[in-house]
Amino acid sequence: MIIMQQKLRILLVEDEDHLLDAIKLNLELEGYKVHAVKDGKTALKVFKEERFNLIILDVMLPEMDGFQVCETIRLENSEVPILFLTAKNTSEDRVMGLKKGADDYLVKPFNLEELILRVGILVKRSMKSDDLKELNSYKIGDKTIYFNSFELKQDDGTIVPLTKKETMLLKLLIERKNEAVSREQILETVWNYDVYPSTRTIDNFILTFRKYFEPDQKNPVYFHSIRGVGYKFTDIHS
């Protein structure tokens, strides 16, 4: 349960200062880690750099409205739950919000209890989908990674110990197989921003992985660097 040991993270997008403060305070008291921003463009920027378990979005926002933000997020991520929190209360607005890919819609002024319950349900749903993906082991070629014991079993049966960070990075890349994972997401998930390693550090990890798994390290088939973005894992056997 490497990922779930961290605090659940919520991206809160609201341009009204007082409302933002009060919602943030309540969510933090409920034990969530909240990243609060005040406009649509910053929300997208932050979303690209970090991973969240839930996004709470206002509709009427400076720079870019919430519907557009939701649509853009859905283009690259169909899983993260999105809750609209808005003053727009017509049924057309609700339908529009859901059509754009939101999971829930709450109208202002709302009840604190209702907000907390809905947030809880949506976050739980996101965790369930994470649970399904929870891996104990994974086979690459003839080698098997054991995530819980931080070990790599080679084809000849010898066991190579893996560091915690190596295991976490492998897990992240494998979970998001065939997808480019950005450096920012790697830093957020594996290093949790408590230390800021240089990009070189991540490169070194990838080099180690290639040494472990690639038949030809110069022409990798599993671990690819995507220039300007990050890294991608592809499994030729699956």
Binding site: G40, M60, F67, K108, P109, N111
Partner: protein, 278 residues
């Protein structure tokens, strides 16, 4: 419809010319007059439909902005109070939530006041009761009040008020004028940017000047900003909050007081609103 009328006109014209070729000049003359009237009518019809559409769009925007302006402070007040009831908060946090709620209530009060005044002005049911009063005192009071709310980090409103400037007017309506002008300047300026409020008496006329360092107002919009409901840009992605009633009230009240208002660009950026009382 227009096409049909034109085809009819040409068809009848050519028929008459064919039957009586000597009346060609008459047909052409009358035809041109008819064509001119038709085109003028079509032009005015088009203009009025365009105006109607614009008004409809502005009203829609007004509804959206009022919804936002009413519900956002309400939501914040409700949430703050529910938080205090539900949580065991320390005194400082409680005070901060209560202070925010008080500010939100004032914001709601200002909005309701603006809506009521605008409606009364429109209905002509407001009589503008006038008396001579100290305008300097009124402007000072308003700048003091807005100063506290505008910014936490440093003084933003820079008042330069000549004491003892007296005018004949409606104290309540003029306080709404000054509040709207200064609030707009604060709203459109960046955080902690300086807003200037100057009041002086020049050649026997009171002169009020509100300057900001915000983005300024494009020339083509300068005339439109005083229209009811008019707001620059799309309501869904607006940076500054408001309803589009403030400057409409300013214009109407000043018209009633025979005062002039002008807006020009500030240097290097921003806008200057200048009110001259006669």
């Amino acid at each position: 419809m227009l096409l049909y009328a034109l085809v009819q006109l040409v068809a009848w014209g050519s028929l008459v010319v064919k039957l009586q070729p000597s009346r060609m000049a008459m047909v052409m003359g009358e035809g041109s007059v008819f064509l001119f009237l038709l085109c003028t009518g079509a032009y005015f019809l088009h203009q009025s439909i365009k105006k109607e559409d614009k008004l409809h769009e502005q009203q829609q925007n007004f509804l959206l902005s009022v919804t936002h302006e009413l519900k956002s402070p309400l939501a914040a007040i409700k949430l703050s109070l529910q938080t205090i009831v539900k949580r065991d908060l320390d005194k400082a946090r409680q005070t901060s939530l209560l202070n925010n709620s008080l500010k939100d209530i004032e914001r709601l009060d200002d909005l309701v006041e603006n809506m009521l005044l605008a409606t009364k002005i429109e209905n002509r049911s407001y009589s503008f009761p006038k008396e001579e009063f100290d305008f300097s005192e009124l402007v000072s009071k308003i700048t003091d009040r807005l100063q506290i709310h505008s910014c936490g980090c440093e003084q933003v409103i820079n008042p330069l008020i000549q004491p003892g400037v007296k005018i004949m007017g409606d104290r309540f309506a003029l306080s709404s004028v000054v509040t709207n002008l200064v609030e707009n300047a604060v709203k459109y300026s960046g955080p902690c940017a300086e807003v200037g409020v100057e009041l002086e008496e020049k050649e026997g006329h009171a002169l009020l000047r509100v300057t900001d360092k915000g983005p300024g107002i494009p020339d083509e919009e300068k005339m439109l900003i005083f229209d009811k409901f008019y707001r620059v840009g799309d309501e869904n992605v607006r940076k500054a909050k408001g309803t589009g009633l403030g400057l409409f009230i300013v214009k109407e009240v000043l018209q009633n007081h025979d005062a002039d208002i002008s807006v020009r660009d500030n240097v290097p950026q921003g806008a200057i609103f200048e009110v001259t009382f006669s």
